[in-house]
């Protein structure tokens, strides 16, 4: 029930209960008074407790609720980092998890009692916040190792996940990942987590600022976000963001092509045609109305530097 309805109802009930309490003697004598007592002192409070409790439990899963404690401020920032290989940021910025419940989406166990255990953990957090010793920034740890199921509730059996070479390699292996025998967050894989200690060195993503608006010195920023996430840099594994930047974090298809991209053989080494929004085939899909044609490509002026020709799709 929305707060706009619930709040006035609660206030009205408070007024009714106060009136019933003050005139209890008179109300308890008559038949109508007894019915009013039943409604005001049992029916309405019971209903409001259920509705308010349900709303409170629901809203406590909201990101704003988690981030209302100052200890969580760096974790909010980790969602806003401008790095396409930074797991929390990628998931948050690309809506891979609902933004409103970003914390809850990843930190709730995928079991029957997952929600309950998440709430109990939340109560522990509240206890520590008010009565315990709050750990320093970067020293906040999970109560138990992060279970793969929390990742796999979305990624399990997804094509994009299974096709990543590292997920099938000797270090991980799909069976081991699915059985939780090796952790997704193991060293050398996605071990960075929120990486709150590194946040000061990193830039923040500004919605509305697009890659083409950035200075030319920065990486191209083109390409598929998800490809950037899953295409490991040449070093392999998820590297620290600073390193990732150095190796071309957020690498465009062009740099990937130049650097060799996926160094594996098989499908990865074979030149594959990736669909992009500039791809004429994809354009055809969206061509509902042929009349408003795309603006004609403008010739770069002599003063402007000529943009670098991206590598042709499908060329090695």
């Amino acid at each position: 029930m929305p707060a706009v309805i619930l709040l006035p109802l609660i206030l009205l009930t408070i007024a009714l209960v106060a009136w019933l309490g003050l005139s209890a003697k008179a109300r308890a004598a008559g038949r109508a008074g007894k019915i009013l007592l039943l409604v005001g002192m049992f029916g309405l409070p019971g209903f409001l407790l259920a509705a308010g409790g349900q709303k409170a439990v629901h809203d406590s899963g909201q990101r704003e609720f988690c981030l209302s404690c100052h200890e969580m401020t760096p974790y909010q920032r980790s969602l806003e980092i401008d790095d396409r290989e930074y797991l929390p940021a990628v998931h948050y910025q690309n809506n891979l998890v609902p933004r409103d419940t970003a914390c809850y989406a990843c930190h709730t166990d995928y079991t029957l009692y997952g929600d309950v255990s998440a709430k109990l953990n939340g109560l522990k957090h509240v206890y520590v916040h008010f009565l315990g010793d709050v750990p320093a920034t970067g020293e906040i740890h999970l109560y138990s190792p992060y279970p793969n199921k929390n990742c796999l509730k979305c990624h399990e059996h997804s094509r994009r996940f299974e096709e990543v070479k590292q997920h099938r390699g000797p270090k991980a292996g799909l069976d081991k990942l699915y059985a939780n025998d090796v952790s997704c967050l193991q060293k050398g894989c996605h071990d960075l987590g929120h990486g709150v200690k590194l946040l000061d060195e990193m830039e923040t993503w500004k919605p509305g600022v697009f890659p083409e608006d950035k200075p030319a010195t920065e990486d191209g920023g083109g390409g598929d976000d998800l490809d950037d996430l899953f295409d490991e840099p040449s070093g392999g594994g998820d590297e620290k963001p600073a390193d990732a930047d150095a190796t071309g974090g957020g690498d465009s298809d062009a740099t990937e092509g130049a650097a060799g991209g996926d160094d594996a053989g098989g499908a990865a080494a074979e030149p594959t045609k990736k669909a992009t929004l500039n791809d004429p085939e994809v354009d055809d899909l969206f061509d509902d109305d042929p009349a408003p044609a795309a603006p004609a490509p403008t010739e770069p002026t002599k003063d402007e530097p000529k943009p670098e020709e991206p590598a042709k799709e499908g060329t090695p």
Binding site: G21, M41, F42, L49, S60
Partner: protein, 82 residues
């Protein structure tokens, strides 16, 4: 039970005792505390408002409702309906 019998029982029922009125006032007091905490939590939910509602407000409301049920049972016993 005929209407005549019902009328006789109602007429013979003694007036509400002072303790019953007190019980109702306690019920009202607990409900008001609980509902006020709930109103604060609904208006601005944060851990600071959620915890008092969950650990003080909700038990207050439940206790108030329980006291009302005690009042009802007493009332029924008093009127010999139970």
């Amino acid at each position: 039970m005929s209407d005549a019998t019902e009328t006789v029982i109602a007429a013979e029922a003694p007036p509400a005792k002072k303790t019953d009125v007190k019980l109702l006032r306690w019920t009202a007091f607990l409900l008001i505390i609980g509902l006020a905490l709930e109103a604060i939590a609904v208006a601005a939910l944060s851990p600071t408002t959620f915890v008092p509602f969950a650990f003080i407000g909700a038990p207050c409301i439940l206790l108030g409702m329980l006291l009302y049920l005690v009042h009802v049972v007493r009332e029924l016993k008093r009127t010999k309906a139970l």
